[in-house]
């Protein structure tokens, strides 16, 4: 994967208002591949938790017959965690505040993932 393309993908996502950071994570081990995070965001923690969450939700979706995971939106009281599978066994992760437009963030994440293919 060309680092420039990864940076461009992350940049695309972080331009969405309310996004506090985006990162590409290895789905298997939860390690950071590339990131673009606001100060104070704990990249390693986000990566590990996002990968673990995606794995567990993926199992639940498979068991429910919902098929392969496409997008996950975790809504919490003070922000959101968005996950989207990316090529080469990666996961595109975005951490947002409460104001973020999830629809727009999802669209940009989709296009960022397509740019990585």
């Amino acid at each position: 994967m060309i680092p420039g393309r990864m940076d461009a993908a992350l940049d695309r996502v972080t331009r969405v208002r309310g996004v506090r950071g985006a990162m590409l994570v290895s789905s298997d081990d939860g390690l950071v591949v590339a990131d673009a995070l606001m100060e104070g965001v704990r990249g390693n923690a986000v990566a590990a938790l996002a990968a673990s969450l995606a794995t567990r939700l993926g199992r639940a979706m498979e068991a429910a017959g919902a098929g392969e995971q496409r997008f996950v939106h975790l809504a919490a009281a003070k922000g959101k965690l968005l996950l989207m599978p990316a090529p080469a066994g990666m996961l595109l992760v975005a951490l947002t505040d409460q104001r973020a437009n999830v629809g727009l963030a999802r669209l940009e994440m989709q296009q960022a993932v397509e740019g990585l293919s």
Binding site: A60, A66, Q69, F71, A77, K78
Partner: protein, 264 residues
Amino acid sequence: MANDIRRLTAELARDPASLAFLQLGEALRLQGQFDAAARVTRTGLERHPDLVEAHDLYGRILADAGNPEGARATWEHVLSLAPRHASALKGLAYLAYRDHDYDTALDMLETALSEDPSDETVVLALQTVRGASDRQEAEIRLRTGADIFAGIEGAERALMLLDARGLVLGGILRDPKGLIVSEDVAAYVAGAAQEAERACRLLDLGSWEAVECEGQDGHLHLSMPAPEAILVVRRDRSVPGGRVALLARRAMAAARAWLEAQAG
């Protein structure tokens, strides 16, 4: 009544083979003199062992005297002699009703009614038992969670409530082929919910409110209607995500109401 008892006692003394023992036994039973009623009826039965009405009377005396097993055996004997004996059927229906065995009670009463459709006592008993049966069924449905999502789209295939340990509380989840996958999904969802909680805590996101998952073939929506309870909504891919969230809100209100009823 006392005069009747005296008259019938005298009549029986004059003619021990008389069927007056039936009236005397019944009169004594109605007066609450169960030992005397049982004695008179047993004596009568010694002379008339095949008299079905005497056995039936003895069953009523035993029931009133607080010996339901004796009464049951007696009425069952009556039915072996006269399979559609209305009074014995009513007696056995009463015992079944006392034991909360409403199906048996209804069977007995319906058979009795078919023998004599004008018997008001059977009609009233049927109403009582049906009411109790309906209440029992409603309680069971409430307790087992079968009705948690009644009236909500997908209640019979795509809505499920589980506890934080991954045990199904109610509702049902089927995969697109129609197979029930509730327990499998519940186990995985409980793990995912724990991970969501952990992620929110460590990332300082506050408590998690919902997780919306889009898959190739469908959506999965998770939310928490109450602490320690997780609602799962499954929808086909064709249903827009916004509508899934709307449906989840309705299901969440139903789940909360059910959980509150359980707590109460």
